[in-house]
Symmetry: C2
Subunit: 372 residues, 2 copies
């Protein structure tokens, strides 16, 4: 959805949200800017430091729980349809970051295999294998398996029961106001996701507690619906309204916000062989000028550049290094070919190392998924 | 819903359907009259013989399976909110009758405990006890436990997964055309019921087979929706369109079609102490005249009379006895007081005997419900 000044702006969790001005979300939807809270975090991750996580709802509840050494949960979901791409890596690293901040944390991961069946026609036997592979990636990124609950949608009846319970107190008006007019099945998906988000607060998991859901900015409709349902069902479940952080959306390698799994060159995945990943980076849309002489004269435009975004969001650990690249590029001190080659090398090294770690974690992933 | 000549008549599975002219359903909804098929049944039950089951959809599929000694299923559901009333007894006896016709049959019973929680606020701990009690009634009525699969909605994830899958191919238009404009939660209930009806055809239960759903006439919307979904998902599941039989609706003891659990004198349950049941029968709405002399002169009106309906639908085994009562009453040969006392005695005897049998079946009911 293109950004506009129109106050009727609607975020689309199932479509493409090209959100150019994230600050507008503060005013429109009541998302809070992150700046005030970030000072309280002793060791903010790079997503915070680089303002990639730009907003939140009630993150303070989580910070309080950490401070007081009280239980909290952090949750997300993945649809097991293929290799993990960079968008899922970002969410996974947020989960891992918040899991790491306290021994009282628990991470919840929903594997949306029923959705994968409905939307992508993948049978459970196939999604079960993909889920193991995806989870091994998340473990390699740093998920602590001992404080994680990972479950398949097709096996977690408590989530389905919550969806059914919620359906009784959601009106067509509420759901249409949040999502617009949609096929019936997507409304139901939304209720199941609300079930996923509120599952950590059931008695079976120790009862009501703060829960953080790190999401892309386009997923806010799910957060609003879930908070509304948590409020409506407070008497029965004593739900605490879930918190959320919002990150900026990463573009495809071709420079737009529409990720297409049909065009494998348009996105990087954690399963890409390092050499293929290099080729993908070399093919990226950049912020370079038409000619090298123009580039030297006017400088490049790093804010338009996908390889720069790869560094900023994902692959460059040091803030100084990123700042240096940005400045050098803007001052004409970099040419795209050399710059991409440098970044391609960083990406390939990351993937080699990641895939090495991951191979040793496949069995842990299997164990986590077959726990029952 | 009151009957009308208006072709826009809509059956209401969640409300009161006062269907005076059942034959109209043949024309409006394509329900077939039972007469043609009944001749093929070697020993038709009293619901057939007395035209209480007045219609069907594709009952022939079940008759064929019986004839060819092939597998088929018969299914129903109960909402465990209290003692079993006469409406549920009727469905249970139909299930039992069709289960008894072949050793290749299997009876499925869904215990709608999530619905009981949503609609009636009953926690699972409470509905679990009620379900055992209800199931003991059904066993006492004759359900063969070895060829029965009884499950709680809150534990049967396969039904929920089907509901989620179906939700993707059901449009708002289809569901509104069948049910009218309804709260969102009732649409979802309808999809869960479609999941219940199609569960016996999953591979886990031996794959596609004819399935019979005996229902009250007001439940036909669920049957139509489910047949539509079975058709739409034929490629994936090879579903055979489910069959149905339709029975007439029994009135409350006060003579209307609105059963109110809030007024315990308005309906008989299988848990009623025989003496209380006698009182209820003595309080029934009858087809009697204002005075005894009028009754003798004009005769009573058995077609309006609830005690007569109790005999016809439930408590008089012999067709001759029922016919005799009908004729005697119409000719003024019976007074309501004596007649009710006679019927009260029959009802009380039935309940004593039923409750005696039931007590010995509580453990079997527990075992069936805790099978996993």
């Amino acid at each position: 959805m293109a950004m506009s000044n129109d106050k009727s702006m609607r975020l689309d969790p199932w479509g493409t949200s090209d959100i150019k001005d994230y600050s507008e979300l503060f005013e429109l939807f009541g998302i809070e800017p992150i700046e005030n809270l970030i000072k309280k975090i002793s060791d903010p991750g790079h997503y915070f430091r680089r303002n990639i996580i730009f907003g939140h709802r009630e993150l303070g509840k989580i910070m309080n729980a950490i401070e007081k050494n009280e239980e909290y949960a952090v949750m997300s979901g993945i649809k097991p349809t293929g290799a993990l791409h960079l968008g899922s890596k970002m969410t996974a690293e947020e989960i891992i970051y918040f899991q790491s901040l306290s021994k009282k944390s628990k991470a919840f991961y929903a594997i949306a295999d029923v959705e994968a069946y409905c939307d992508n026609g993948l049978p459970f036997s196939e999604t079960a294998e993909i889920a193991v592979n995806n989870l091994a990636d998340i473990l390699a990124l740093g998920l602590e398996p001992e404080r994680a609950y990972v479950y398949k949608q097709s096996e977690e009846i408590r989530v389905m029961n919550l969806a059914l319970i919620f359906s009784r107190k959601v009106t067509k008006n509420t759901i249409e106001a949040i999502y617009g007019e949609r096929p019936f099945g997507l409304y139901l998906s939304a209720l199941v996701q609300a079930g996923d988000i509120l599952l950590p607060q059931l008695e079976d998991f120790g009862g009501p507690k703060p829960v953080l859901v790190p999401v892309g900015a386009d997923q806010d409709p799910h957060i609003r619906l879930t908070r509304d349902l948590a409020r409506k069902h407070h008497n029965e479940f004593k739900f605490i309204l879930p918190s959320a952080t919002y990150h900026k959306l990463i573009r495809s390698l071709t420079g737009d916000y529409k990720m297409s799994k049909r065009d494998p060159m348009s996105l990087l995945t954690l399963d890409d062989p390092p050499d293929l990943a290099k080729k993908k980076v070399m093919n990226c849309y950049t912020g370079g000028r038409e000619t090298i002489s123009e580039q030297k004269k006017y400088g490049g435009e790093p804010e338009k550049c996908v390889p720069y975004e790869l560094c900023l969001f994902h692959f460059c650990k040091g803030d100084e290094k990123v700042k240096e690249m940005y400045q050098e590029c803007g001052q004409g001190g970099r040419t795209c070919g050399d710059c991409k080659a440098e970044i391609a090398e960083i990406v390939a090294n990351f993937l080699s190392e990641h895939q090495r770690k991951k191979r040793s974690l496949i069995q842990t992933a299997q164990r986590l998924l077959e726990r029952d």
